[in-house]
Amino acid sequence: MKKLFKKFDKIVPMLVLIFSIFLILNTLIETRIFTRYYASILVIVAVYIIMATSLNIATGFLGQLILGHAGFMAIGAYSAALTAIALRDYIVNDLLLFIVSALVAMIVAAIFGFIVGTPALRLRGDYLGIMTLGFGEIVKVILTNLEITNGAQGLTGIPTIMSFPIAYFTMIIVVSIIALFMTSRHGRAMLSIREDEIASESVGINIFKYKITGFIIASMFGGVGGAVYAFQIGYLTPGSFNFTRSIDIFVIVVLGGIGSLSGSVIAAIVLTILPETLRDFASYRLLIYSILLILVMLFRPQGLMGTRELHLSKINDKYESIKTKLRNKFKKPKEEGDA
C-alpha cells in the first residue's frame, strides 16, 4: 500500500497541475471571459504543441533534419476530415467521431511515415532535410489534384466538432506518451543515435529500426495534430500546409530547444500567442516576431530550454533549497543570540 502510494506520489502533482490549468482555462471560456476568438487560439496552441513535440522526436531526439512536417499534418487533417464527413451520419457523438477520425488520421500518417521514412533515413543531414521538404510539397500537389479532396478549392463541410477540452486532452495524451516513451530504453536508444550513430551501433542498438520507429511516431502524432486542426478550422485547402507551415513548426522546436519536450511546449505557446497579441501593431507584427527570434537565437543558440526538461520535482527541489537557505539565514543570528 505504501509502495503504491509512493508510486502515485510522483504523478499526483503533475495531474493536479494538468487539471488545474484545464479548469482555469475552461471556466474562463465557459464564463465567456475568454471570447470564442481566444478559445480558438488556445486550440491552435494545442495543435502547435502536438506538432512541435512530435517533430521533436525526429529532429530533437533522433537528430534528423526534417523540413516537411506539415506534409504529415496535411495527411492527418485530410484523412480525419474525410473520415468524419463519411461517418457524421452514423456517429452522433462529437467526441467519438473525433476519436475515430483521429485514429484513422494517425494510422494513415504513420503509413506515410513508414513509406517516406524507409528510403529517407538512409540519407543524412541536409540531404534528408531537402528530401522531406520535397515530400511536403508533393503532398500539397497531390492534395491539390485529387478529386476527393476537392482540389485547390478546398475541402468544406467538415464538422467543426473541436472544443477546447478535446484539444487540450488530446495534447496532454500525445505529450505524455512521447514523454513516457523518451524516458525508456527505447528513448535512450534514440538519443544515443543522435549523439553518435557509430557508437550506438557498437553497443548493439539497431539504428535503422530506431530511426524508422522515431520517424513513424513523429508522423503519427503529426497526423493527430492535423486532425485537431481540421476539426477546429472546418475548411482545408492544400495551401494551408505549405513549406511555411513546416518551417513554423521547425522554428518552435529549435527555439524551444532541440531535444526538450517542455521547451517545445513553451515555445509553441509563446510563438502562437505572440503573433496574435502583436496584431495591434499591424504590419510591424512580423518585424517584431522576427527580431525576437533573432534575439533568442543570438543569446540562447541552444534554444530556450537547451536539451533540459522542466520537472515538477526539480522546481520543488529548488523551492525547498531556497526555503532552507532563507531559514538558515534567519536562523543563524538567532542561534548566536541564544549562545
Partner: protein, 252 residues
Amino acid sequence: MSILVAENLTIQFGGLKAVDNFEINVNENELVGLIGPNGAGKTTIFNLFTGVYKPTIGTITLNGKQINKCKPNEIVMLGSARTFQNIRLFKEMTVLDNIKIAYHNQMNYSFLDAVLKNSKFHEQEKEANETALELLKVFHMEDDQHKISKNLPYGKQRKLEIARALATKPKILLLDEPAAGMNAQETEELMETIKFIKDYFKVSILLIEHDMKLVMGICERIIVLDYGKIIAAGLPENIKKDKAVIKAYLGD
C-alpha cells in the same frame, strides 16, 4: 576454446588489398596484441570483426557462429564489443546513461511497457541502474555517475568507453589504441586496468596499440601486420627479435 577465429580473411577496396589473407585465433580469456606500422590495416581488421566492413573473401567466426554477413548490432549481441581509436562516447549524456544504453539488449520491455510504465519497466530499469552502478564502481567512477561524459578527463573517458563496451557482456573485447594520447603514467594505469579487466570479467581481449611498452608488457601473444599481411606472430620476446618486424618498423 576459441572465441574469435578468422580464416583467409581478405578485403579489397578497388585495387587495394587492405587486408590480405589474415588469420587469427583468439582463445578464451586470452590477451592478443595486433601491431604494425601506420596504414598496415589494423583498424580495417577491427572494422571487419565488428561488421562495419564485409570481407571480400574469408570467414570470421565468433563464439562458434559465422558473422561474415552480420550487422554491427547483431555482432554485439553475439558477444563482441569494441572501443574506438578516437573516443566515441555519447558526449551530451551522463556517465550512467552511457552505460545504461549498453544494457539496451539485456532488457526486453516493449514500447507499450515503456508508455504504461508498468512493473516490468520499473523492474528492468532498476536492475539496469544497479548493474550500471556496480560496473562504474569496479572502475572507481561511481562519483562521476551524474557528470556529462564530455566533461570527464581524458583518461576517464577512455575508461568509460571500455566500461560501456563491457556492459554489453562481451566474450571478447576489441580495444583500438586504448593508450592513444595518454602520458606515461596514464598508460601505466591503463595497463593495470586492462589486466584487471581480463581477470575480473574473464573476457578475451584483442588489442591494437602503438605503445610498445604496453603491448610487450601485457600481451600474451602478438600478431604483426604490414601492408595488410601478417609478417610475424608469436610471443612478445620473439617478436622483439624478429627480423621482419624490425625491418617493417625501422626499414633496412
